[in-house]
């Protein structure tokens, strides 16, 4: 019964945090609200990648490719056919998810580090394809201009603080969905195969099926983040989806705490928000993060906020969500 009390205390925190966040745009100027918007977008990307990297233990360094597919789907359909961007949300998810399925199907069986290399290659191929104006619809190196603003129930979202609510509400929804997913049979299966895929296979988990599912779900969610990004920027170009974008998202998961959404959120604040506070050192930020990654692996493998051990009431059963031994 004590557990239940602790739980209700945690739930008490949610409205407080939500209230503080919701009132933030009142105290901050447009610039800082925009920084928070970036933090929110990267947090959404981070949580979607966290399912692949943190939970399934698949090293994906090409997440920007799926983000790009979502953003370009929204941009092309919006500018060519004037479909409102918000309506395109599911379509962006489907486009990015199908692309991930197509790409990942033949490579999902590759061992960890090889998979990592291939996803880098995929990310680069996508970027080069976008620059070369593939199918004549991506606008080449200049990208696509004049993407429409999203509107919710007739209210058009334009200003940074309006986007703040869109992004952070979507982030809250993302956290909710991925939390449910992580605690489902699906999430447990992913953790099992991350720890030991042979044992998982032996226990009747279809390893490649689950790996693929994690990949596709994560990519589809990145596609939706891409939709929001396209609507926020109104202009997208291949530069926004470079390898460093993938590295940034990957780094924020590793530093924040892989497999833990709170850690990912913290990572997004540290990696996207913190350099804005110390603008003089903005150039050196990747240097610091690179060194931090090495140190983190040596001294604190789980990140700043490691994923808590999973506990279930059944005696003798403990989950293995601590150190990512995959």
């Amino acid at each position: 019964m004590i557990r239940l009390d602790q739980r209700s205390i945690t739930y008490l925190w949610y409205p407080i945090v939500a209230g503080v966040l919701a009132s933030l745009p009142m105290f901050l100027n447009a610039y800082w609200v925009d920084v928070l918007n970036s933090v929110g977008l990267y947090a959404i990307l981070g949580i979607s990648l966290n399912l692949i990297v943190g939970h399934a233990g698949l090293f994906n360094l090409g997440h920007a490719a799926f983000y790009a597919v979502g953003a370009y789907t929204a941009a092309i359909l919006n500018t060519k056919f004037q479909i409102p961007v918000m309506w395109l949300m599911p379509l962006c998810a489907i486009a990015a998810g199908s692309f991930a399925l197509l790409i990942a199907r033949p490579i999902i069986h590759l061992r960890g580090d090889y998979l990592c290399i291939v996803t880098i290659g995929v990310g680069e191929i996508v970027r080069i394809a976008l620059i070369n104006n593939i199918f004549g619809i991506t606008g080449g190196a200049n990208g696509i201009f004049g993407i429409g603003r999203p509107s919710v129930f007739g209210f058009v979202i334009r200003k940074p603080h309006e986007f703040f609510y869109l992004i952070w509400i979507f982030l809250a929804f993302t956290i909710f969905v991925f939390r449910r997913l992580e605690h489902s049979r699906f999430g447990r299966a992913l953790n099992y195969l991350r720890e030991d895929d042979v044992a998982a296979e032996g226990s009747g988990i279809n390893v490649s099926h689950y790996k693929l599912a994690a990949f596709v779900v994560g990519a589809a969610w990145a596609g939706m983040a891409g939709n929001i990004f396209a609507a926020k920027m109104t202009t997208i170009s291949p530069e926004s989806f470079s390898f460093w974008e993938s590295v940034l998202v990957f780094t924020l998961i590793i530093l924040g705490g892989s497999g833990n959404n709170a850690g990912v959120l913290l990572g997004a604040f540290l990696i996207v928000g913190l350099p804005e506070l110390f603008r003089d050192f903005a150039n050196a930020r990747m240097l610091v993060f690179g060194a931090a990654m090495v140190l983190m692996m040596i001294f604190r493998k789980g990140g700043i906020l490691p994923a808590p051990q999973r506990k279930y009431k059944l005696a003798g059963v403990t989950g293995g969500q601590g150190e990512g031994r995959g």
Partner: protein, 301 residues
């Protein structure tokens, strides 16, 4: 036909560079089963160090072009080998017993660190190599003009590869490296100091990679701080193409990839040049993960 030979010689030169970098990947992978993501950035450091030495010490002017380049390469080799050994000590040795993917993350972190260190030291813009180091002459072979620098790069990389091959195959230390690559535990029982073998591999690989960096500077005339990961990725592709862990494989794979890329750029599309190498990488991993020369299963020492 002339264009074909132009592209062929160009592909061979670039392929030689890929092969030199690929050797570093494949040797480290052979012994540690680790993709050393930072290797590409050691290559960049080599290129920048070469730039600094050339402009600051005026090596070519003081010793003449040929001895100047040799001295330059030796200095770069020595320095980058030290950086490689330092990298191994700091970023990889503490993770020797850790799970593989932790080491991969550490390697990525080291790569990001080194790349940004180069950027902070030299600035984000490309640096232009001094133009007057090698005489701007060429050779006419059957009506095809081949610049001297291309011939030198092909020749030098072949000599270095042959040297490495002989070292690995014929010397006692080379035998120890091969033994450690096959079975570290057994190698240890045979009295081989595996730690020293690993250190040696991290001296040899970066030395070759640093040389490749200088070669790129001489060939293209300019270097930039992000080139390490493109070249690194392509060299890694070359290593996989030849069969990772396989030293002759890396040489063959590198040269093959260089030629494929040059031909693809000439006859398919120059805009898709980089994508060609990555497509080769993906196709090889899907269709034949052990590479062209296959994985070494057993070997007679």
């Amino acid at each position: 036909m002339e264009e074909f030979f132009q592209q062929l010689t160009n592909g061979l030169a670039v392929g030689g560079i890929y092969a030199l970098i690929a050797l570093g990947y494949t040797m480290v992978y052979g012994v540690l089963k680790l993709i050393n993501f930072a290797h590409g950035d050691l290559f960049t450091m080599g290129a920048y160090l070469g730039f600094t030495l050339l402009t600051a010490l005026n090596l070519a002017g003081r010793f003449g072009p040929a001895p100047g380049v040799v001295i330059l390469l030796l200095m770069v080799m020595g320095f980058i080998a030290l950086v490689g050994a330092l990298l191994e000590r700091v970023a990889y040795r503490p993770l020797r017993q850790a799970p593989r993917l932790s080491a991969v993350v550490s390697a990525l972190g080291a790569s990001i660190f080194l790349q940004n260190a180069v950027m902070l030291i030299y600035g984000a813009r490309s640096q232009v190599y001094p133009q007057n180091i090698l005489p701007m002459v060429g050779v006419n072979v059957f009506g095809v003009y081949i610049p001297l620098v291309r011939i030198l790069i092909v020749g030098l990389s072949l000599v270095m590869m042959a040297g490495l091959y002989l070292f690995i195959q014929k010397t006692r230390i080379g035998t120890a490296i091969r033994a450690a690559a096959i079975d570290q535990g057994a190698a240890r029982l045979m009295g081989i100091d595996v730690d020293r073998v690993i250190l040696l591999v991290f001296l040899l690989g970066p030395a070759l990679g640093g040389t490749a960096g200088v070669m790129v500077g001489l060939l293209y005339g300019q270097v930039n701080f992000t080139m390490g990961w493109v070249y690194g990725l392509k060299a890694f592709t070359a290593a996989i193409l030849g069969g990772i862990g396989n030293i002759p494989g890396a040489m063959v794979g590198g040269i093959l990839l260089g030629v494929i890329e040059a031909m693809g750029a000439a006859y398919i599309s120059i805009a898709w040049k980089d994508a060609i190498a990555f497509c080769v990488l993906i196709l090889i991993l899907i269709a034949r993960p052990t590479g062209l020369l296959g994985e070494r299963v057993a070997e007679k020492l």
